[in-house]
């Protein structure tokens, strides 16, 4: 590991200690619980960890994984499962790019180890599925499986890691009912700092002056009048579109009820989940018949049964489903937000004196109108999952042997039901003189209409998908004295189809796992998958994915057994090959490349007025029969321990070499006349670590745990056939991380002298004073694409860290968790460059170059017209994406048992949650550092109750 990384860790840890502010590494809290109860035979079941296709004891786990349990998931008022995972699983990076109801997050396990799709494989209760629609209350645990040993049984789709979700099951005992309810409000986390009318007009004039154009807004007749009352509110408005459209409070609520219990013969768990997530738009009730608010209501229902059919035959019968109803304004959030950012604040009054919508020739997307007058859209999703597992215990024939079969069916259906319309806007052609203005005479104005009002137009679009799984297995679990053996041989088959076409996604193969333990302190495991997929040619379909792992519980050795300073110490090492899916497409044309396919092509036309369209047909991209899956060679090494009864730590190092990455070959001969082709020519290295440290004391009235965690990864593209070849290494994406930012190195701004004596000529047109000067990296006296180099980092942070604190004093508990990232970069472009797209600008436009501020300016001169020199991606526009957020706060109070029992409750806890209450961003301080110009991220405050009886 690089010294720099160590330095950063040590620095971080030191500052954590000083601040006494620590991240919750929730898995640690959980592990602590497990460890503390090591001798507690009643809790033996909870020591079992869900791994791929089975369970293992905590000690016996030889692979790298992290788990979070429902107790911690419930510390968050989560409108999506992702909300509850942020900062909870070392090695998991989540990126939220929108706060819109229903928006998901980017999810990466140990960053990206390929430049193709990087999402993990998701497994729910043993089968491929989606997790983000589940209710937080039906989930028992979520794990990420990180090394080759953990994922080998998943064959060709496992190289990005696996997200393993396990739902709750009933336990033997009386009927238990648990009720959770949270409700509260959400607020915009950070309002973007856009210019007001006076500043906009002043700066826009400055830009025009820089361009040698006449002043657009008069310093005497226009600028002083913005925001004045009377007729000026119509002729010289000063709109804060964001406030007019976005800043209301939104409602949020989650609720769940779990009914569980049962006998030896039948155990059950029934979960009902409800989630409501309101939208942030204002003025959504302008239409009598319908609302144009964004919101999402989700209802989940799950029944998990464990049935003992015969003494040696048990069944698990699970049915889970949801209704997910989303409602949006008649146009996408992106368009609404874009109108807010791209309409100058003084362009027109939002509402004209006669009540009509304001508009102008150039800006007809009145942001208020987009919310109120575009109609509405609904997205209705339904899903039903059914799973059956049968397990036959062969113990009477061979002790320890069991046979099982399982099947599952998932049926998903989605319907867009949109009722949208267009609206007219009106620009004011004539307004009365300010002295003559009488608000009671709206007719005093004359207007020009833009666009037309239309009636609601109905469009529906449906989509459905079906997945069928089958599994058969034989398992063996027996201990002979000091020797324990666990074995699993399984067969798995998976088929997925959608309503889009006739394509069938098929996946099948065998898996084997052998696990050996000696004296419960030495463990060795061999795992292998042999899987095939439909996207490869017959004969090339099946791949073999072996992995081996060993673990040593050093603390059980005699020399440490009674050591008071080392309570627990485990070392672990694994190595193996995981398979990576080649293509994520959904048709033969973007998924099957072993065969040469033809596709429909653009029509050609013949004839006169009633011309005839002739469908075209043309070869798709060049076939390659040798196409194969990626191979990810994963090495993983970890140590974890508990010391002095109060300190826990874990360190997990990984090195991942992913080869044979499917890549579009850029070097296909143009003369051959076919569109490129794919080959297995790519390679990416990825390495990093996860580290956690916590201090805890869970004895006595005052209990605490202070937790810190940090995880890091750094990737490097070794080979990529689709990468453009450059003469200079600095320009090439090879040798850089996946997704590296590139741009020009800047060297201040031109002044009069440097414009007069230009030795290095930029190739973006003429420059003048105040334009950005770039470094001529290759020394050819021309600034062009050859001078572009890597700048900053990628868009996905290399470091994620968490700081947290859990306190409990008698009945009162406080839990805080903060999460931050480091080493990511964002390159500003488009709207972010003042006036580049003729819209409004952010406050930082004031830091642009003027002749007076030439020495201190941060940004080049403002420009109202083409300025391709200054708008190039460069160091000037590169921002650090670093941020820190106080993700959640929970303050809880357990009501005294006697109160609860007088109300017939076994337990009763009331709590308040706060989410994203505080945000710090290094560079992106003008808007939310995660969602930027998208639908903004939100804070929330909720009040909750947890009852069980």
């Amino acid at each position: 590991m690089k010294k720099k990384n160590l330095y950063i860790i040590s620095k971080l840890y030191a500052s954590f200690l000083i601040l006494a502010l620590f991240p919750v590494n929730e898995i640690f809290a959980q592990k602590a619980e497990v460890l503390n109860s090591q001798n507690d035979s009643i809790l033996k079941e909870s020591k079992m960890i869900d791994v791929a296709y089975g369970k293992q004891s905590y000690d016996g786990v030889t692979s790298s994984m992290s788990t979070v349990y429902s107790k911690d998931l419930n510390k968050v008022t989560a409108v999506t499962v992702d909300d509850a995972l942020i900062g909870r699983l070392p090695g998991l990076t989540l990126q939220q790019s929108s706060g819109e109801p229903g928006a998901g997050m980017g999810i990466y396990i140990r960053g990206r180890n390929t430049y193709n799709g990087s999402g993990p494989l998701v497994i729910v209760d043993g089968f491929r599925s989606d997790y983000d629609q589940l209710s937080i209350y039906e989930i028992k645990s979520i794990s990420i499986l990180k090394d080759a040993s953990a994922v080998a049984l998943y064959g060709q789709e496992a190289a990005n890691g696996v997200l393993l979700v396990t739902t709750k099951r009933g336990e033997i005992g009386e009927t238990k009912i648990e009720v959770n309810a949270n409700f509260g409000v959400q607020q915009i986390s950070k309002k973007p700092d856009l210019l007001n009318a006076k500043d906009y007009a002043t700066l826009y004039n400055q830009a025009r002056e820089n361009d040698g154009l006449y002043e657009k807004y008069s310093a005497t007749d226009d600028i002083p009048n913005y925001g004045k009352g009377g007729v000026y509110q119509f002729t010289h408005p000063d709109n804060d579109y964001f406030d007019e459209c976005m800043s209301s409070l939104a409602s949020v609520a989650t609720a769940g009820m779990n009914i569980s219990g049962g006998s030896d013969a039948l155990r059950y768990m029934v979960t009902f989940g409800y989630m409501h997530n309101g939208g942030m738009y204002k003025n959504t009730d302008e239409n009598d018949a319908y609302s144009t608010q964004a919101f999402r209501n989700k209802y989940n229902l799950r029944t998990n049964l464990d049935v003992k059919i015969l003494d040696n035959l048990t069944a698990q019968i699970d049915i889970g489903g949801y209704l997910d109803n989303r409602h949006y304004p008649g146009i996408a959030a992106g368009n609404i937000l874009s109108a807010i950012y791209s309409t100058p604040p003084q362009e027109y009054p939002i509402i004209n004196p006669d009540g009509s919508l304001g508009g102008s020739a150039s800006y007809t997307d009145n942001p208020y109108g987009l919310i109120t007058s575009k109609g509405y859209q609904t997205l209705l999703s339904r899903n039903l999952d059914m799973t059956l597992h049968l397990k036959y215990d062969m113990g009477n024939i061979v002790k320890g042997l069991a046979l099982g079969i399982a099947g599952s069916s998932q049926n998903y259906m989605r319907l867009w039901d949109n009722k949208t319309k267009n609206f007219a806007t009106y620009s004011i052609d004539y307004a009365p003189d300010p002295e003559d203005y009488d608000p009671s005479i709206p007719d005093a104005f004359a207007y020009t209409m833009h666009n037309d009002d239309t009636e609601l137009n109905w469009v529906t679009a449906a989509y459905s998908s079906r997945r069928m799984n089958f599994e058969a297995n034989a398992s063996y679990d027996r201990t002979f004295g000091d020797h324990s053996f666990q074995g699993l041989l399984m067969y798995h088959l998976d088929r997925y189809e959608t309503s889009d076409n006739y394509y069938k996604f098929s996946n099948a193969g065998f898996g084997f796992r052998g696990h050996y333990g000696y004296k419960s302190k030495y463990f060795a495991e061999f795992t292998a998958g042999y899987y095939g997929q439909e996207q490869y040619k017959s004969g090339h379909r099946f791949g073999f994915f072996p992995a081996g792992a060993v673990a040593w519980i050093a603390s059980k050795e005699d020399f440490l057994k009674d050591n008071n300073s080392v309570n627990y110490l485990k070392l672990r090492l694994s190595y193996g090959i995981a398979g990576g899916e080649a293509f994520g497409g959904t048709t033969v044309h973007n998924r099957i490349y072993y065969n040469q396919y033809y596709s429909g092509a653009a029509n050609s036309y013949f004839g006169t007025t009633n011309q005839t369209a002739y469908m075209g047909r043309v070869e798709g991209i060049m076939a390659n029969p040798d196409i194969s899956w990626d191979k990810s060679y994963k090495t993983d090494l970890s140590v974890e321990g508990t010391f002095f009864n109060h300190i826990k730590m874990m360190f997990d190092y990984f090195y991942d070499r992913r080869t044979d990455i499917l890549s579009y070959d850029n070097k296909v001969l143009g003369t051959i006349g076919l569109n490129g082709g794919y080959n297995n020519g790519g390679e990416v290295k990825n390495k990093g670590y996860e580290a956690t440290l916590s201090f805890f004391d869970n004895t006595g009235d005052f209990q605490y745990s202070i937790n810190t965690g940090i995880w890091y990864n750094h990737s490097e593209i070794v080979k990529n056939p689709s990468a453009t070849i450059y003469q200079n290494d600095y320009r090439s994406s090879i040798g850089k991380p996946v997704g590296q930012n590139f741009g020009y190195v800047t060297n201040g701004f031109y002044d009069a002298a440097s414009v007069a004596n230009m030795t290095v000529i930029p190739s973006f047109g003429d420059v003048q004073e105040g334009d950005t000067k770039y470094e001529d990296l290759n020394g050819d006296n021309v600034i062009n694409d050859d001078d572009v180099t890597s700048l900053g980092y990628t868009g996905i942070p290399e470091y994620t860290y968490t700081l947290g604190l859990d306190l409990k004093y008698k009945k009162i508990s406080l839990s805080l968790m903060g999460q931050g990232t480091m080493h990511s970069s964002y390159m500003l472009g488009g709207y972010y460059i003042p006036f580049a797209t003729q819209g409004n600008a952010f406050e930082y436009a004031k830091d642009s170059w003027t002749s007076a501020t030439a020495s201190t300016a941060k940004y080049p001169r403002l420009s109202s017209v083409q300025n391709s020199n200054n708008n190039q991606g460069s160091k000037i526009w590169l921002l650090s994406g670093d941020y820190f957020r106080l993700r959640n706060v929970e303050l809880g109070y357990d009501l005294p048992v006697e109160w609860a029992s007088s109300l017939h409750f076994a337990n009763m806890k009331v709590f308040v949650h706060g989410q994203n209450l505080f945000t710090w961003a290094k560079d992106i301080d003008f808007t939310d550092p995660e969602t930027l110009m998208n639908y903004p991220a939100l804070k929330s405050y909720t009040l909750g109750i947890n009852l069980s009886f």
Partner: protein, 575 residues
């Protein structure tokens, strides 16, 4: 239901153990391979139809901009458009906006593939004998259609080869479906070899048209396709390509001497004369109507890109000036406007030869000016064009002109954007006006401005200046006939007549005058309103333009150069 599915699955499992592959096989309904395509008449004709996609619609040739914006004809009002790289001089082998190198080779490959699939000599299927006794009309139609299809494919090979050569100079010639190793050993051919490849191929297709027109029930009669098939290649179109290829080959850029090659000029003139002699085409249509008439009654139309006749209004959205009651639509109006340059406007003569009236510069001009360029204070689509400073469509406003002018050519004024009406557009591949000007140029350099050689036999023979005068004297233009012709007049006539038809960019190159025309700043008109109908005008520089001699040819794309380490990049391009 679930139970049934499980049983089905259990069977699948058993099946899998015996025959693994069938589980993974692609559904037959998704399989569209060469085998299935060549077995279907509809798919074979779809392969042919796609060849016509080679005729690029010039309205969005370079990243949604006309190529006029990459030369001295115009400036695009979109600062970020890729086309600006040509004007900034920032293009190179890694960034050649609108490069068609790969597309053109793909189209050549498609034509070769079509010819190999429909090999009528070796594949009896394409002799359609099974229909001979059962369905004679169908047999006849399939027969003549297949002949025409295959002639088209040969034509497209020649056409795309010419387009490649026009752009890149020496190019690798491809006449067959190539394997990787065959492609890897290709070398670039000289201009002489390229011309020697194209011309015989075109001559062969030309001669086949006579056979085609003799076939039973054929819809190609007297050199024209029936209305239903309008837009397919005709003998006139092939001759027009031949004439153009020869004229380009004869031009200073492409000759060893750097001056016109008289022999090639004479051949070009003869090819043009063959078209004139067909008697099918004339300039007897007004200059404005010529821009829209997609019917067979348009005597100018030798061949157009029929992709344009699908009704649309994007050209109107991009180019309409803001202003007038129903011209306001949304922020896309004027969002991608091609703004004609002052240089182009200046090239229009005055009707009577007098000086331009500085106070009213757009009056008394060649009528083609107002049929090509929308000037200030004109009435257009029920509104007045306000391109003066501060006007609704004035210089510097959002989505407004950068030069003071808007494009009128090919822009239909009957389109009502607010109600979303659309209309056909016409993009010429070859038109008669161009053929006459090709003839004039070829005759001029072969024999001088007024000489005749007896090439034109249908009607009176034509000299260079006679051909130019035919163009000047069309209905609605009626510019006075020129008594004789200078090089400057010849070139100016071509600039005006063929403005915005994708010719100028290449003309200034083959004439080797781009180092002057493309290196001068682009000028526009700054118009100040004094009072209603009273304006003052001053010419101002809009932007500087950069051209160096390397740019006479496009660079071979960088990735292709890395494929062929022994190829030498075009002169002046670094890699």
């Amino acid at each position: 239901m679930l139970k049934y599915k499980f049983i089905q699955f259990a069977f699948l499992v058993v099946f899998l153990s015996t025959s693994c592959d069938s589980f993974f096989e692609v559904d037959d309904r998704e399989k569209i391979t060469l085998e299935t395509v060549s077995a279907s008449d509809a798919d074979v004709s779809a392969m042919w139809a796609y060849l016509y996609y080679s005729f690029d619609n010039g309205f969005n040739e370079i990243s949604n901009a006309m190529i006029a914006n990459a030369c001295d004809e115009a400036d695009l009002n979109q600062p970020f458009s890729a086309v600006q790289a040509y004007n900034e001089g920032s293009w190179n082998s890694k960034n050649t906006p609108g490069t068609l190198y790969f597309n053109l080779y793909q189209e050549i490959h498609n034509a070769c593939q079509f010819l190999s699939v429909t090999d009528t000599l070796n594949d009896i299927r394409f002799n359609y004998e099974e229909y001979y006794y059962v369905d004679k009309p169908r047999y006849n139609q399939l027969k003549w259609n297949m002949k025409a299809y295959r002639m088209d494919a040969e034509f497209f090979k020649a056409y795309c080869t010419f387009e490649l050569w026009k752009r890149y100079g020496n190019i690798a010639l491809v006449d067959n479906v190539l394997s990787k190793s065959e492609a890897a050993s290709l070398q670039r051919s000289s201009t002489d070899d390229v011309i020697a490849y194209i011309i015989p191929k075109l001559d062969d297709v030309i001669s086949q048209f006579d056979e085609l027109s003799q076939m039973t029930d054929v819809e190609y009669v007297n050199g024209k396709w029936s209305d239903q098939y309008l837009g397919r290649i005709t003998k006139g179109a092939v001759l027009a390509l031949k004439c153009k290829v020869l004229l380009y080959a004869a031009s200073p850029l492409n000759t060893k001497s750097g001056t016109y090659d008289k022999e090639l000029c004479a051949e070009a003139a003869q090819a043009a004369a063959q078209i004139i002699n067909m008697g099918l085409y004339s300039t007897n249509i007004s200059y404005r109507e010529m821009q829209f008439n997609t019917a067979s009654s348009n005597p100018e139309n030798i061949l157009d890109a029929r992709v344009g006749i699908t009704a649309s209004n994007y050209m109107e959205q991009w180019n309409y000036p803001l202003g007038g009651s129903d011209l306001y639509v949304n922020s896309s109006v004027g969002s991608n406007a091609t703004c004609p340059s002052q240089g182009l406007v200046d090239s229009y003569e005055t009707v009577d030869g007098s000086d331009v009236n500085a106070a009213d510069p757009y009056s008394n001009r060649d009528p083609r000016l107002k049929m090509t360029v929308l000037c200030n204070n004109e009435i257009f689509n029920e509104g007045t064009v306000e391109s003066y400073i501060g006007g609704l469509a004035g210089i510097g406003e959002k989505n407004c002109t950068t030069t003071g002018y808007y494009l009128k050519k090919f822009i239909q004024d009957k389109v009502k954007l607010p109600s979303g009406t659309t209309t056909s557009h016409l993009w010429y591949v070859f038109r008669y006006g161009e053929v006459l000007l090709n003839y004039a140029e070829a005759m001029f350099y072969a024999y001088g401005p007024t000489a005749m050689q007896g090439y034109v036999t249908n009607g009176s023979d034509l000299s260079a200046v006679d051909a130019v005068n035919l163009v000047r004297n069309r209905p609605g233009v009626g510019m006075p006939a020129l008594p004789t012709l200078s090089e400057a007049q010849l070139r100016n006539e071509r600039r005006i007549e063929l403005a915005f038809e994708g010719q100028r960019f290449w003309d200034v190159r083959r004439w080797k005058i781009a180092e002057q025309t493309e290196n001068s700043p682009l000028m526009g008109m700054r118009i100040t309103k004094i009072s209603d109908n009273n304006f003052s005008y001053s010419i101002e520089q809009i932007e500087t333009r950069k051209f160096d001699n390397a740019m006479y040819h496009l660079p071979i794309p960088y990735t292709e150069m890395t494929n062929y380490p022994d190829w030498v990049q075009n002169d002046g391009w670094s890699n």
